[in-house]
Amino acid sequence: MRIRDVKRAFTRKLGAEEDSSGDHKYFYFTYQGSEYTVGKLSHSWGENLNDTQISLLARKLLLKKREFEKWVECTLSNDKMIEVWLKRRKEFMGYR
């Protein structure tokens, strides 16, 4: 998986706002008037992401690694991904 594909998924597909003012890029998704941190990329990461980096990204979105990969590859729709994300937020205390 390429870092540019992940970035594209965050910004174009999800419509998340990118903040790259520091050494890390943060992505914020606006839902019902509130902003949620949904992703972080490090400037030191190479073009191709390894399994650990993908897992860390998936975790921020409360997805399993394979779900995240499918979402980036567009085999999991944006609507479905948001549905999963909302469901899992409700499952965890403090994620409301």
């Binding site: 003012s21 941190t37 403090g94």
Partner: protein, 134 residues
């Protein structure tokens, strides 16, 4: 300050109830070698002590100690704080630690200007980061 190098246990051991050794150190680099030589698939915990300096712009330091989890796998190392909802990754322990600690500063600076519109969870993290860093 206590220095301990016997930090790691395997995930299986930690999940079966054997607690990993906790480490406090004023110089994280001083124990880096012991982390680097751990077996792949190991898991441990560490306290990053009060007064630790965050590298880079801003000259931040930690106002209190922070407990972090450290995991080694075939890709490298992950340093993670559930409390701060943040993690760092690197092919070496030093890289992961550096990625993690600079993430704290970047996250504080990124969340700060958005405070009014942040979700409850992110707002809580921002509050904790403000208490952690000065």
């Amino acid at each position: 300050m206590v220095y301990t190098t016997n930090v790691f246990t395997t995930k299986a051991e930690s999940y079966s109830g054997i607690k990993p050794v906790w480490v406090a150190t004023e110089n994280v680099a001083s124990v880096a070698d012991s982390f680097e030589n751990t077996e792949i698939g190991s898991f441990g915990m560490m306290i990053i002590p009060e007064g630790t300096r965050v590298p880079g712009r801003g000259k931040y330091i930690l106002k209190h100690g922070l407990i972090v989890e450290i995991e080694s796998n075939c890709d490298g190392f992950v340093v993670r704080s559930g409390e701060m909802d943040e993690e760092g990754y690197g092919t070496s322990y030093k890289e992961a630690y550096s990625d993690f600690i600079t993430s704290l500063k970047d996250k504080l600076n990124s969340l700060g200007p958005r405070e009014k519109v942040l979700s409850g969870r992110d707002k809580a993290v921002l509050t904790k980061l403000r208490k952690l860093l000065k």
